[in-house]
């Protein structure tokens, strides 16, 4: 399991960098396996450098930059793991318009190889969906699901 994972990690690292550069329009994202005293101590470190910025401690990234980095890492890991499905609840909440458009395009492409179910308030994201469900309250406290025409939500 340890060897499998460090092999997989190299693949995730490569894919993470590709997706990071795609979502940020440049820069660099890397994963590193940090050896511990034992297999249990091993950890995965992340280096995320937006384009033109100096490499920094992840906590210094802005809220939107952290979201985008998280998305790149999760999509990369899913691809390498061959996960058949992802359910993403409002992962685009902190993204500005430019980043949101890039995320929506990536999600659409990702959904050609795996199933994606995405809860969102953002128009660019919902426009990419093949199936759009609207959830509303038919009366307070009682949810209902309806098919939605995109024009109602823009």
């Amino acid at each position: 399991a340890g060897a499998l994972f460090s092999q997989a990690l190299q693949g995730i690292d490569r894919r993470f960098n590709e997706l990071f550069r795609r979502l940020f329009g440049g820069g660099e994202g890397r994963l590193m396996l940090t050896e511990g005293l034992s297999l249990w101590d091993a950890g995965v470190e992340v280096m995320a450098r937006p384009p033109g910025k100096t490499p920094q401690h992840l906590g210094q990234l802005s809220g939107g930059e952290q979201s985008l980095t998280g998305i790149a890492l999760l999509f990369a890991a899913m691809e390498v793991a061959g996960a058949p499905l992802a359910v993403l609840d409002e992962v685009d909440a902190a993204l500005d318009e430019a980043n949101l458009k890039r995320f929506a395009a990536l999600a659409e492409e990702c959904a050609r190889t795996r199933q994606l179910i995405v809860m969102t308030h953002r128009r660019y994201t919902m426009e990419r969906a093949q199936v759009l469900y609207g959830v509303t309250m038919s009366e307070p406290g009682l949810s209902q699901v309806v098919g939605v025409r995109l024009e109602d939500w823009t």
């Binding site: 994972f5 950890g43 998280g70 793991a81 359910v87 993403l88 995405v118 919902m126 093949q130 759009l132």
Partner: protein, 167 residues
Amino acid sequence: MFLERLFLKNFKSFGGSHELRFAPGFTAVVGPNGSGKSNLLDALRWVLGDGSASRLRITRLGDLAFQGSASLARSTEAEVSLRLREISDGIEGGRGRSCTLGRRFSPEDGGSLFFLDGARVRLQDVDEAKRSWRLEGDRFAFIGQGEVAEVVQQRPRERRVHLESLF
């Protein structure tokens, strides 16, 4: 494989019976604050075997049952079922095999019951079915509301465990 159909009955705010059919590709779920979008994610987690109170955003199992509204009485029971479908190779034009996972909570049962294609099974059987459908452990990535930055904020050891769960 993909999730083909989700059925909910008295699960959280979904009083009564409700059905959703997902795209094999990209499905978006939209709606006002508090309408029930995240509750759908909770339903998926729960039917796939998750029992964590914090991930399900409850304090007791009874919180999963519809608490009532003006015109629909509260329920003591909750039920979710999920049909999984194999993506067909299309040679004969038919659909691939399918399987339906179900979970039901009722106070009399003292906990929740699991079902596989209608037959009562144990949690181990659900895990076995998930393995055969490549859904074992957390191979499916469920990112809850507000959690997307978590993988960036985690400690290296936690992140390794999280990523490994996908394999």
